[in-house]
């Protein structure tokens, strides 16, 4: 019968064997690289950062299955894209509401921006910038005009946030007004000046006598954003105007100037026969539809911007690097002077918009950014959501290394304790 010391010695050998076997198993497991050992991590919105880090640092992860309750941030989305590019399959599911946000800075000198937000669902969308709340809007497509924006713009619905940066402003250059001395020329100058445009003019008032601003020439894009030609008095500058538009400048042609032969190649429309304006009683106010009018015969490559009851009133087309716009209204100054209390502002804003439509933009006026449409960005980055849970076999979190470590520690402690009790080192 084996003595107690023999039993103890045998147990110590067994423990050592267990320890060695466990170490060998751990070593074998760590060295083994087989597809069957790969695993899929089940991630949630709350654990996405931790899980993507784990997947990034583990060579055994073959996929990440994400259950989303809110859109991931741009950084989280980029991390998932990086994993997918590293041959790790990414599947996502969950309700990510579709919100899209766009901020377009207005081109007029007065500045301001138009925020357009599109969102499905019935919950209200909260628009804000860095300074605070801008507005709360309902579902659908909504545009909000804002005079000043501070920092980034965001649209929030419940847990979904879409954000866009505020676009840069472009310093505006002068507008050159060319016309004979009459009220149209005067009040176009006045309207543009009041709207914040820097206005220069050349007005021939008699044979050989021209009222003009200093430093008027040359007409180039370094000086001017746009040239406004109101009548045939600008005929002598047609070659310079053509060159200006080809180089990226804006051209607005109105009234009798639509008949200047040298500008016909640029203008988006020819003018029809002039129709007199509405006959006014003493107390009548004037709107654009009451003005004398030349219906525009629009070229095929031009776009119509505004219509009058008698035909097209505004048309625009691209010419070289620039744009040319034709105006069908005559004597728009009557709108300003006889348009009632709102006529002044309406006439000013209308002319400012006309110039802005052709003035070159030297910076990106539209800003969206990566988070302006989170759902669209997610689908663009990771594909559409999975209909059901991933078909890839999912296993629970691997606890074997911890078990093996526990066995090693226990075996080593037991064996050491046994030997110490025997008085052996």
């Amino acid at each position: 019968m084996p003595s107690r010391a023999d039993v103890r010695h045998a147990a110590e050998i067994a423990l050592r064997a267990v320890l060695l076997a466990t170490l060998v198993l751990a070593l074998w497991r760590s060295l083994r690289q087989s597809p069957s050992a790969s695993r899929v991590i089940a991630a949630r919105t709350e654990t996405l950062d931790r899980d993507t880090r784990r997947a990034l640092h583990s060579s055994e992860v073959s996929g990440v299955d994400v259950e989303l309750s809110a859109p991931p941030t741009a950084a989280q989305r980029d991390a998932l894209v990086a994993l997918r590019r590293n041959s790790i399959s990414i599947h996502w599911r969950g309700e990510v509401p579709g919100i899209a946000l766009e901020v377009i800075r207005r081109r007029e000198p007065a500045g301001g921006a138009t925020i357009t937000v599109i969102g499905a669902g019935s919950a209200p969308l909260v628009l804000s910038d860095s300074a605070g709340l801008i507005d709360t809007v309902r579902a659908g497509a909504v545009s909000v005009d804002v005079g000043t924006l501070v920092g980034a713009v965001s649209a929030t619905r419940l847990t979904t946030l879409a954000s866009a940066r505020t676009p840069k402003t472009t310093p505006r250059r002068a507008v050159l007004v060319l016309g004979q001395p009459d009220w149209e020329e005067k009040f176009v100058q006045a309207a543009l000046g009041e709207a914040g445009w820097q206005v220069r003019a050349r007005v021939p008032v008699a044979p050989g006598v021209v009222v003009r601003d200093d430093g008027l020439l040359p007409i180039d894009t370094a000086r001017y954003d746009a040239v406004v030609v109101l009548d045939s008095s600008a005929s002598d500058l047609s070659p310079a105007i053509t060159r200006f538009v080809q180089q990226g400048g804006g051209l607005v042609v109105s009234g009798g100037a639509l008949g200047i032969p040298a500008l016909r190649a640029l203008t988006p429309a020819a003018a029809g026969d002039r129709r007199p304006g509405r006959i006014l009683l003493a107390s009548d106010t004037v709107s654009p539809s009451d003005l004398p009018f030349r219906p525009l015969l629009v070229r095929e490559d031009a776009a119509t911007l505004e219509r009058h009851v008698a035909g097209v009133a505004l048309a625009v087309r691209r010419v070289g690097l620039g744009r040319a716009l034709a105006v069908g209204y005559d004597e728009s100054w009557r709108w300003r002077m006889l348009g009632g209390f709102s006529g002044l502002a309406e006439h000013r804003d209308w002319w400012s918009r006309v110039i802005a439509a052709v003035a070159p933009e030297r910076a990106d006026t539209s800003a969206a950014g990566a988070d302006a449409a989170p759902r669209a960005a997610l689908i663009d980055a990771l594909g559409p959501p999975s209909g059901a849970a991933s078909e890839t076999p999912r296993v629970p979190e691997d606890r074997l290394p911890a078990i093996l470590l526990g066995i090693v520690i226990l075996a080593e402690l037991a064996e050491t304790a046994s030997r110490r009790f025997r008085g052996v080192r």
């Binding site: 004979q180 001395p181 009459d182 009220w183 149209e184 020329e185 005067k186 009040f187 100058q189 006045a190 000046g193 009041e194 003019a201 007005v203 021939p204 008032v205 008699a206 044979p207 006598v209 009222v211 009548d231 009234g255 009798g256 003493a282 107390s283 009548d284 004597e331 100054w333 009557r334 300003r336 002077m337 006889l338 209390f341 006529g343 002044l344």
Partner: protein
């Protein structure tokens, strides 16, 4: 292109029609010296009428005390806001006269304080060049009124443009003759009227 129409303001108080030959004389000068399309006859426009806004340059004169009605004041405020220019000439050429006192009082109520125009004002170079400022008239030193040469005109500007031009020079007497009689003058004394019209149309 719309032609320029010379408009004379008719107001309820005073003698608004004290210079009936002036419009024809100014129109003659515009046609004589410039290429501006000008209507052959002027119009008379009541200050209280919405028709005022059809004529962005309006001439007003008189000898007698001026007291605008509420409708005239309201109309003039809108006229100035929209960029119209009111040219007022004191037919008395007398800064101590009743027209001057009452007209400046009324105009100050409507436009705010009047300020003298410097000799370098663009008005004096708008067409003919008047290096010494407004041209003097033969009526300033003829023993009537204050017997002074008024060195400056005064006015009110908005957005860098004159909306009110006020004169004590008595151009209403100086230019109030039949245009045919210009041939008797060595220097046309209506030349400054061309500057006023050209300024109004181009600034």
């Amino acid at each position: 292109m719309s032609e320029f129409v010379f408009a004379t303001a008719q107001y309820e108080s005073g003698d608004w029609d004290s210079a009936p030959l002036l419009p024809a004389n100014v129109i003659d000068s515009i046609a004589r010296y410039t290429s501006i399309e000008v209507a052959p006859t002027g119009v008379i426009v009541p200050l209280s009428s919405p028709s005022l806004f059809r004529y962005p340059l309006v001439y007003l004169t008189g000898h007698l005390p001026v007291r605008f009605s509420d409708a005239e004041r309201a109309n003039l405020r809108q006229f100035a806001a929209r960029g119209g220019l009111l040219f007022v000439d004191d037919h008395n050429h007398d800064i101590d006269g009743t027209f001057h006192k009452t007209a400046t009082e009324e105009l100050t109520r409507v436009y705010g304080g009047l300020k003298p125009l410097p000799k370098t004002h663009p008005l004096y170079q708008a067409f003919f060049v008047f290096e010494d400022g407004p041209p003097t008239t033969s009526h300033e030193l003829n023993g009537w009124g204050d017997n002074l040469v008024h060195k400056t005109l005064s006015g009110v500007e908005r957005e860098g443009r004159l909306v009110l031009l006020f004169s004590n020079k008595d151009y209403s007497s100086e230019w109030n003759y039949h245009p045919e009689n210009k041939r008797f003058l060595s220097v046309d004394n209506t030349r400054f009227s061309v500057n006023i019209v050209v300024y109004a149309l181009t600034r």
